[in-house]
């Protein structure tokens, strides 16, 4: 297969930034996801194995927009309880639905009881948070004012899910929201590792939540990045993204069940190139990848599977394919699962971390749904069909507007270097 790595070899030196030292692995003692594929790990594993996608024709926006979306069913009926009514909005509903799956809420509350509330951090990630509620307030404006039921400042803030989930979990440790567009919920894994390494907390609850809203559907549409049909990552005829919504959660602890999978590395970088277009030589993506491997103490040849960012935009996939082709040999497998879930933006990092952990747990690597003819820039790594395999070590890529890049490295409990 053709490999276009011409640009790759011309990369300017980035060695001015020091190579990071290896880190100690962090246990992931509970994790779950809710997306268009359903609620919880089994729903995701089954849909991935059976190649059953969750995308549907857009039935979300009042103004018609021809595209596919990854919508979570029954959010409209999932009102928050009276005690949480002040936080009522679609994004917090999705967070509430998401914590119920796989017993995550009990696991997180258990960690709070075990370690003490002030020793547990709550790290939330989102891109648009509950802007849907703000959009609704503007749509229903009365005499220049928000309608009375939406005059709740705590839902018109990017930290809304943080305020809400702090009540839900009962944590009293550090609590903040990371909002770096589509890398947001990958970056909270790095934040958790730093807090745990410094001994500032004993556990971190990670939450990535993003919901469908007019801002992103019409915003990405204005950039001509939305596909008119289901997205086809790495396909030579790909036409753009399908937007989805998701909530993902993970509980990270320094100590814990020795059989639990581990976070072994992370890398973060900035493209320093353009607000909404990736660096043409994949400089930032490469640096995030190299730093994740360095922190994990791993070589590229140690990696079995990479869950790619793979949004199905022309530029993202071209550059990500080039970086992967240049850095990995043919044994490593890589795919984008956005054909199943859509691009869940600020929740994509943690949703795809969960999918990467499912690949380890179930011993299979999802391919790339909806795509038929691979872009010739792809190396032999990019999978279209699912593959059964012994999956020991995985990477997950997340890239966002503003040139914000992150790569995470996970390993099976028995495969720590």
């Amino acid at each position: 297969m053709a490999r276009d790595v011409a640009g790759y070899t011309r990369c300017p030196s980035i060695s001015v930034l020091a190579v990071p030292n290896p880190i100690a692995p962090i246990r992931i003692t509970a994790f779950t996801a809710t997306s268009a594929l359903g609620r919880g790990r089994d729903a995701h594993a089954r849909a991935l194995r059976e190649r059953r996608g969750g995308l549907r024709a857009n039935d979300f926006t009042a103004e018609p927009l021809a595209c596919a979306i990854g919508r979570v069913d029954e959010l409209e009926e999932a009102a928050l309880s009276v005690e949480h009514a002040a936080y009522e909005c679609r994004n917090n509903r999705l967070a509430w639905l998401g914590v119920q799956a796989d017993g995550f809420l009990d696991a997180a509350r258990g960690a709070v009881a075990r370690h003490g509330a002030s020793r547990v951090a709550l790290l939330v990630a989102t891109s648009t948070a509950s802007i849907g509620a703000t959009e609704e307030a503007y749509a229903r404006i009365e005499d220049g004012r928000f309608p009375a039921d939406l005059r709740r400042p705590q839902v018109h803030t990017v930290h809304s899910a943080g305020l809400f989930l702090e009540q839900v979990f009962g944590t009293r440790g550090p609590c903040l929201t990371t909002a770096t567009a589509c890398s947001s919920s990958a970056k909270i894994f790095a934040k958790a590792e730093r807090l745990l390494r410094l001994g500032l907390v004993d556990a971190a609850i990670l939450a990535g939540v993003d919901t469908l809203c007019g801002s992103v559907l019409f915003g990405f549409n204005s950039l001509e990045l939305v596909a008119p049909e289901v997205c086809r990552p790495f396909d030579v005829d790909r036409r753009g993204i399908s937007i989805g919504e998701a909530a993902g959660f993970a509980l990270l602890e320094r100590d814990g069940d020795a059989r639990a999978p581990v976070l072994v590395g992370w890398g973060e970088s900035s493209d320093a190139h353009h607000m909404s277009t990736p660096h043409p030589e994949g400089l930032g993506a490469r640096r995030a990848l190299e730093d994740a491997l360095a922190r994990a103490g791993l070589a590229a040849t140690d990696i079995d599977y990479i869950n790619l960012h793979g949004t199905a935009t022309s530029k993202n996939d071209e550059i990500e394919a080039m970086v992967v082709a240049g850095a990995f040999d043919a044994r490593t497998r890589a795919s984008s699962t956005k054909g199943w879930t859509g691009h869940t933006l600020g929740a994509a990092g943690i949703l795809e971390a969960v999918i990467s952990l499912l690949a380890i747990e179930h011993g299979f690597m999802p391919g790339t749904l909806n795509s038929e003819r691979l872009d010739p820039r792809c190396g032999p790594q990019v999978l279209l069909a699912n593959e059964e395999a012994d999956v020991r070590r995985v990477l997950s890529n997340s890239f966002g507007f503003g040139g914000s890049n992150s790569t995470l490295a996970f390993a099976r409990a028995d495969a720590v270097a």
């Binding site: 440790g173 770096t180 410094l198 900035s270």
Partner: protein
């Protein structure tokens, strides 16, 4: 939570009438008034001229204070990891986007859309500074300044390298302004480095406090309206006032939930 020890290598500040840290410092220390000749918007030299004219206010303010802090610290901006924090991000874009969506969703401007992300100032900053180092953008509602200070100190302590902290909020616009009455723009930046015994710089020790009862720090009158009218200034102004004066050896900043972040000045 254990403690975090960092030192401040440089500070940058911008607010209406206070175009730089030196002028604000003179106001905080000696009661000097705001500069009547100060420009209504900052014009950070780091940005290309076209960006200086058309970039959104949070980008201008963040880049201005970040450049000031790096210069004061004698640090090359290209080499610094950064933490950007804001309570509400770009409320002018929020107002325009939501108003447009309600009226004619297909008229959303693509540039405005990519400028609407919470990390837009970080994106513009890393591009202008040719910085490939990691950058994060966070919010923690009324604890956003403390959360930024904490995250930057965590990064400095965990990497052993200096970290740039940029904190800002801009005025609320349109219908949003009734709910979140922010009446003035404000930005502050700090270059924080891991504490070193052999370097004489102002030091901070951060630790969790059991409750968020903020110890009152009396601000000079010229800063009261700013402290009341901007959520980032509400926390940051008592912090810098205590830093540059002998008023207090420590303060407690709101840090989410019922907790506080205790800052000891050393």
């Amino acid at each position: 939570m254990n403690t975090l020890d960092v030192q401040i290598e440089g500070i940058g500040l911008w607010a209406p009438g206070w175009p730089d840290w030196d002028s604000a410092c003179a106001g905080l220390r000696r009661g000097e008034g705001p500069r009547a000749d100060a420009a209504p918007r900052p014009t950070p030299g780091l940005l290309p001229p076209a960006e200086r004219r058309r970039a959104p206010d949070p980008v201008l303010i963040a880049c201005e204070v970040a450049a000031q802090a790096c210069e004061a610290a004698g640090r090359d901006p290209a080499g610094l990891c950064s933490v950007f924090t804001s309570t509400h991000g770009d409320l002018a874009i929020t107002d325009i986007m939501c108003e447009t969506l309600a009226r004619a969703p297909r008229e959303i401007s693509p540039i405005r859309f990519h400028n609407s992300v919470h990390n837009a100032p970080a994106g513009y900053w890393t591009i202008a500074a040719h910085c490939h180092a990691a950058s994060t953008s966070i919010s923690a509602y009324d604890a956003s300044f403390a959360a930024g200070l904490f995250e930057a100190a965590v990064q400095a302590a965990s990497s052993g390298e200096p970290v740039l902290l940029v904190a800002y909020d801009i005025e609320a616009k349109g219908a949003f302004a009734e709910l979140v009455p922010i009446t003035a723009a404000f930005g502050i930046a700090l270059v924080l480095a891991p504490a070193r015994a052999d370097v004489e710089l102002p030091g901070l020790r951060l630790a969790a406090a059991a409750d968020a009862a903020t110890s009152p720090v009396a601000l000079p009158e010229a800063f009261l309206a700013l402290a009341h009218g901007n959520p980032m200034a509400t926390s940051a102004l008592p912090f810098v006032t205590a830093l540059v004066s002998d008023i207090a050896s420590s303060i407690v900043l709101p840090f989410g939930g019922r907790g506080g972040l205790r800052v000891d000045f050393r």
